[in-house]
Symmetry: C2
Subunit: 406 residues, 2 copies
């Protein structure tokens, strides 16, 4: 029998960890492994809000794929996936086509804008390195422009963040730390700058422990953040946003709207004909797509329901990394001819949200609440632990977060 | 007799040095000295091109006025001069009015756009700290945007500099050093970036020694700069510029046009009713405005003809600083009742143009040519010498340029 072709689509948390695990566990004569990604680097999506705020350089967040993947063992194809043709066992790329025997779909997320008018045209999203660094530059450019106009334009200093979920709140935390630096750089009175968070739920971080949410809001408000909860974003115009609260519409002048309120699975999944639920593949217990014995789906493209709550597990890095363990093991089993695959069992270790580099909140093992210094340390430990798993000590030393005491 | 009021308008090279010299030479009981400036800082105009290119931070270029001026001896008024009312011996400010017995007009320059359509609306000028830092941010923002658009926009990577005089060439020299860094930061192929200099004369740096001009052009061309000489800028549009060369019009797509081709004296001089020649006051030998025994004019607002060439001396920092010596001495003479004033005698020590931080060309004492390392050292020595004169050793140590060997 010829060597099977394993093709892994996407080098995010799920795809990258699957690749690294298969690189270790499969011999070079057992299978040909090909990783496809549109950039020649991997990045930690959960760090992008820091790059966007300008508090961490994006080169700290991204990792060249060849630094983690041994290209003597793994083929790397830099291209964009257009479609999976499951009937032909092929993947159509923008500049080519690949044949697979076993496919791993880990194509991540796209921003979901729910049809809100003007959002696609006028708002930024924090989805990748390119987005993140242009947000940083856009905010800085507007601050730089402020004193170059006869009539001062307050819209240059108003920053609106749509969505008070994880990404929105973490981004605001970094912004709140960054703004005083920008004000110093461009001779702008700090009191003129507004950071406004618009969230449709009655509270930010819905679902999080109320005591921790209050801690987070106090921490951010003390740094000048304004929260508008229970408000729906109605329109994003080039120089303002409109939201509705208590039946009244409010227009806020701004040149900077960052939409952090929704993600959906990569549309390639839907386009490829997989059966989807809210755009995601409701995977079987062994992480395979229903109806296919050679296609695994994980990360933000996969949907798994938490049997206790009846709701899907949230699309987090934690889940994607845990899934990659099962996927890598099951791919190996298939290569070695074992048909009895492992079932995925998620273990939610905890959730920590940073509020700037010096504050955070979190829940560990669903019971212990953390905030302030301890939560900050925990958050950085989680980030560092991932780097260690992905690329060992040398990657950790190069990209890790060790600024715990300042 | 009551203490005379000396009012100095402008804290550029001329005004600042006049103030510092009077602070030393006049006793606190001899006169009341008031310095008026629109910012609370002085800056070295000849360093702004480095701030604009992003190779030197603008805080290195500006000096808080209170660090150089002893505010126990000198009044500082932060305001913008609207008009001098010589008949009432008053200065109208945006937020007030001052009475003078002796006036020093050192209000510097404005950009001259010669009525070229679109230049005021669509081009940047390098005239002050606000302009300079927004140029830096504008270029960086366009590089950041490049990979965020489906259709790549070459206009974001084309930078057009209008004018191949001193400022234009020095700015290009810094840009040529900065671009490779920006390309690395935003994953842009260096070969895609164009730096285009459009100059109406048959050569850049007209009037400079031809051998040195050739050296300069070779140095910059080897770093990717394109020179279009003998070409007139016809129009500056929001997304392109149009120039005419050899009777043909050429349009270059660009979002970044920097106009470095012309300055004129501050229009306040003309508005105040002084007799002007090309917008400047043709001062008498004692640096007073013709018809006034109590108004001195210096720097870019003053015109002095070089008797040898028959042309005016160029508006340089060197001349302004030398003039301030004569003005300060003559102001002191007036205060002390001496009517016989000193005549100004310019001494052109030399001219050095930088071509980035590691290359330069120059002529010393009108005879010795310098280029490369020696010219670079000379340029930095000139910059440092000024700081020493202005604020002594402590200012030199804080703001000086000592990066001679890298």
């Amino acid at each position: 029998m010829r060597k099977p072709n394993i093709v892994i689509l996407g080098a995010g948390y799920g795809g990258m960890m699957t690749t690294v695990k298969l690189q270790k566990s499969l011999g070079i004569n057992e299978a040909t492994i090909t990783l496809v990604n549109k950039n020649n680097y991997h990045y930690q999506t959960t760090w992008l809000h820091e790059n966007a705020a300008g508090t961490l350089h994006h080169d700290r967040t991204r990792i060249p794929i060849k630094e983690v993947v041994n290209t003597n063992k793994i083929n790397f194809v830099r291209d964009t996936v257009v479609k999976v043709k499951t009937d032909e066992k092929k993947v159509k790329l923008q500049h080519g086509e690949l044949t697979y025997d076993i496919l791993v779909v880990a194509l991540g997320f796209e921003a979901a804008t729910f049809g809100i008018p003007g959002l696609i045209e006028n708002a930024f999203t924090i989805g990748n390195i390119n987005n993140a660094r242009v947000i940083r530059e856009h905010i800085e450019y507007n601050f730089a422009m402020y004193h170059n106009e006869q009539e001062k334009n307050q819209a240059r200093l108003n920053i609106v963040v749509g969505g008070g979920g994880f990404t929105g709140v973490e981004f605001i935390g970094e912004l709140a730390n960054r703004i005083p630096e920008l004000c110093k750089e461009y001779d702008i009175d700090k009191n003129l700058v507004r950071i406004i968070n618009v969230e449709s739920s009655p509270t930010v971080l819905p679902g999080f422990d109320p005591q921790l949410v209050e801690y987070a809001m106090n921490s951010l408000e003390s740094r000048g953040v304004e929260f508008v909860t229970g408000a729906m974003l109605k329109e994003c115009k080039p120089e303002s946003i409109v939201y509705e609260k208590d039946g009244k519409q409010v227009e806020v002048p701004t040149l900077t709207t960052v939409w952090a309120a929704g993600v959906r699975a990569n549309t390639v999944v839907e386009k490829s004909g997989f059966v989807t639920n809210r755009g995601k593949v409701e995977v079987q217990k062994d992480m395979r797509a229903p109806g296919y014995n050679d296609v695994f789906v994980l990360g933000d493209c996969a949907l798994i329901t938490n049997p206790e709550s009846g709701h899907p597990y949230p699309p987090t890095a934690q889940i994607a990394i845990q899934e990659s363990q099962t996927v890598a093991q099951n791919v190996k089993k298939l290569v070695q001819g074992t048909q009895e695959l492992k079932h995925f069992e998620p273990k939610i270790l905890g959730t920590v949200a940073s509020l700037g580099h010096n504050d955070a909140i979190g829940v560990i093992l669903n019971e212990r609440k953390l905030f302030g210094f301890k939560a900050t340390v925990m958050k950085k430990m989680i980030d560092n632990r991932y780097l260690l798993k992905l690329g060992g000590l040398s990657l950790l030393m190069r990209k890790g977060k060790f600024n715990i005491f300042y």
